[in-house]
């Protein structure tokens, strides 16, 4: 058990280094101090000083886990390559293959990634990280994949892929295809190498919450993980047609660390998420105002991808992936409505000028 703990610590140290490196490289504002393996969008830099049980001498440790699920121990083995082999400057490694092994070494799952040797102008790498997904009704693996390339524009929130694995009929299987999301894991659910589910939904399913970038804030998107059927799906049903409150779902909002900080401005607050809900009240926002982001109303999409895996004709390593997030522009309900509380006064706002006045983040 002590060995397990040491391995977890090693993984966390690696992940933290990766997150810090990427923050410096991209200039991204760090919304949260996401630890460990969440969407580290840089090459899988591994510490060659750390001893590994699987890597040859002088090579980085390439094992994640072990993870204890339904009485079985699983590990994730990563095959990596140097991005600039032979270079005196270590520019990191990229993952070229990921295998999930059971305790006997049997490969339960395999995914491969393309390798491109980095040049002075271009760099592309893949990284993989994993958490034990611990719920009330079951346990599984939450694996995240990230692709990093240079040159690339800085993003307020990076994109990556999430994939849930669980045990069905005694075997560890994916509960669907990887799902692409601009956002990812939420701080509050991370405990060591474990990502906790938010709550049980019934006797066989748990809700797992992820953050999703909306363009101005991060909403909390609940995903239903059905441990018995081995499926994942959106935990919220959203109206598909317009009603008096518009199209879309209402979601909780991840608090923002820093909002408006100038002397004084104002936003227009409507009583409901519709300009026809009443007159907008112009509300003063001061430097010391208490601003709470309460709820968003926005249309979202869910694409389950191809649960059967990559087709023979696939060209990209994630061609089987689906995704979820805010619906694309032009979709009914794409208009983002945000419910806020400003110095005790609640209301809804939705236009760019109000988002900017409030100092909400936005893509560059």
């Amino acid at each position: 058990m002590k060995t397990l703990r040491y391995l977890v610590v090693i993984v966390l140290v690696i992940g933290a280094g990766v997150a810090g490196w990427r923050t410096i490289r991209t200039g991204r504002r760090s919304q949260t101090s996401v630890p460990a393996q969440q969407f580290s969008s840089q090459p899988q830099v591994v510490n060659s000083q750390v001893a590994s049980t699987t890597a040859p001498a002088g090579e980085p440790p390439n094992r994640l886990g072990p993870f204890l699920i339904a009485g079985q121990t699983y590990t994730i083995e990563l095959q990596t390559k140097k991005l600039r082999p032979g270079s005196p400057v270590d520019s990191g490694d990229t993952v070229v293959a990921m295998e999930i092994h059971d305790a006997a070494g049997t490969v339960e799952y395999l995914r491969t990634f393309p390798y491109l040797e980095a040049s002075d102008d271009d760099l592309e790498s893949w990284s993989v990280s994993a958490f034990l997904l611990a719920g009330t009704n079951g346990k599984g693996l939450l694996v995240s994949y990230h692709n990093y390339s240079e040159p690339s524009a800085p993003e307020e929130e990076p994109s990556g892929w999430l994939q849930v694995f669980g045990v069905l009929n005694g075997r560890l299987v994916p509960f669907g295809a990887p799902l692409q999301v601009q956002g990812g894991l939420m701080d509050g659910y991370v405990a060591g190498d474990t990502y906790k589910t938010a709550r049980p939904l019934d006797t066989q399913a748990d809700a797992v919450e992820f953050k999703v970038w909306t363009g101005h804030c991060r909403l909390v998107f609940p995903v239903r993980v059905d441990w018995t059927q081995g499926k994942i799906s959106p935990a919220q049903e959203c109206p598909k047609s317009a009603d008096e409150l518009g199209v879309g779902c209402q979601y909780r909002v991840v608090p923002e660390d820093k909002l408006y900080s100038s002397d004084i401005t104002f936003v227009r607050l409507w009583p409901g998420p519709d300009e026809k809900s009443g007159n907008a009240e112009k509300t003063v926002v001061k430097k010391n105002s208490k601003v709470d982001l309460l709820t968003v109303l926005v249309a979202t999409h869910w694409d389950k991808g191809n649960p059967g895996g990559l087709a023979a004709s696939s060209k990209g390593p994630m061609d089987d992936a689906g995704g979820f997030g805010v619906a694309s522009a032009g979709t009914a309900g794409r208009d983002l409505w945000l419910k806020v509380r400003i110095d005790g006064k609640e209301g809804w706002l939705h236009s760019e000028e109000d988002f900017q006045a409030l100092g909400l983040p936005e893509d560059e």
Partner: protein
């Protein structure tokens, strides 16, 4: 911006002058209608003369004929215009315009005040009559004031109203071309006429703007002073022209005023900066921009404004604002022109 250039005018300000005579303005030369015989008994005639105005060596007088009601409870509607005449020195009638009036209960339905002023420039001298029509909505008791003008110049030696300003570059109805520049094949540029540029001080609903007009007093020409177009979506579209502003800000009653400041005089929710105007904020009004459409009815002309913007500086930050709420936020609520 495709502003049609215009020269700074000589200081001819055709404006709203304080008017002592109250006149009734309805443009049909109909007989007076009275709601009751007793009201008619109380209607008195009055007359005011303005001038003489020396135009092309001839003196003219403007006679403003009015009707007055005695013992009315509504002094604002106790008099109105019944007619305007312009006579030369010999007493010959040069121009006449009757105005109908209606007595309702103990007051006139509307009250029109008017004033006459001489205007002159290098093209000659003319006459400007400014009308101010005041009505009261029966249900709300809200007063509404509208402004009209008549510009008189010489055509074929006769003093006549010049009618609606012609569009820039077009010929005034019956008058000369106004400031059209011709380029010959050899590159020579000649100007067919060089009119005077004058301003009309007109109320937008919130403040005054000075609307430029080109006028040739001795040849009876009147045209708009500027026209602005902009290339939008591959085609030229009418857009507002810059104008000088005269605004009397009222002290805001509220602690905060809220404005949406835009870098350009175009609505753009993605680019509107929110600003709070406080009681000690430094507000400067730099100018205005609006589309001006002149209308004419029965010899009277009137500018109608659309897409009205104000160029302001709030605590040192410059930008454009528009709309009733934002104008009110800097102390310019919707209202009527001052008497």
């Amino acid at each position: 911006m495709g502003d049609v250039p215009f020269r700074k005018n000589p200081p001819l300000l055709v404006g709203a002058m304080a008017m002592s005579v109250c006149l009734s303005l309805l443009v049909r030369p109909a007989a007076p209608r009275q709601s009751s015989p007793s009201a008619g008994d109380r209607v008195e005639d009055a007359e005011q003369r303005e001038g003489p105005f020396l135009i092309a060596g001839q003196n003219y007088s403007v006679v403003l004929r009015e009707k007055r009601l005695a013992n009315t409870n509504d002094p604002a509607l106790a008099q109105t215009l019944a007619g305007v005449e312009i006579n030369d020195d010999a007493g010959n009638l040069s121009y006449q315009k009757p105005f109908s009036y209606v007595v309702e209960q103990d007051h006139f339905q509307q009250n029109v005040s008017a004033s006459a002023q001489l205007a002159s420039g290098k093209t000659g001298t003319g006459l400007v009559i400014y009308y101010r029509k005041q009505t009261t909505a029966s249900q709300t008791s809200a007063t509404q004031v509208r402004e009209f003008w008549q510009l008189f110049g010489l055509r074929n030696g006769k003093l006549l109203p010049l009618g609606k300003p012609a569009p820039v570059g077009a010929s005034a109805d019956g008058g000369p071309f106004m400031g059209v520049m011709m380029r010959a094949a050899n590159g020579t540029v000649s100007v067919i006429s060089q009119p005077d540029l004058t301003d009309v001080r007109a109320w937008t609903g919130y403040f005054y703007v000075f609307v430029p007009l080109r006028v040739d007093w001795n040849h009876g020409g009147l045209a708009q002073g500027q026209r602005c177009v902009e290339m939008l979506g591959g085609s030229l579209e009418e857009t507002g022209c810059d104008m000088r502003v005269e605004a009397a800000r009222k002290r805001p009653a509220e602690e905060y005023g809220f404005i949406r400041l835009l870098a350009e005089a175009h609505e753009n929710p993605d680019a509107a900066a929110h600003m709070v105007v406080q009681k000690d904020s430094k507000v400067e009004i730099l100018g205005a921009r609006a589309i001006t459409n002149w209308e004419e009815s029965e010899d009277l002309i009137q500018p109608n404004f659309s897409d009205v913007w104000l160029h302001v500086s709030i605590d040192g930050q410059q930008g454009w604002i528009h709309g009733e709420e934002d104008f009110a936020a800097i102390g310019l609520p919707r209202g009527n022109p001052s008497p």
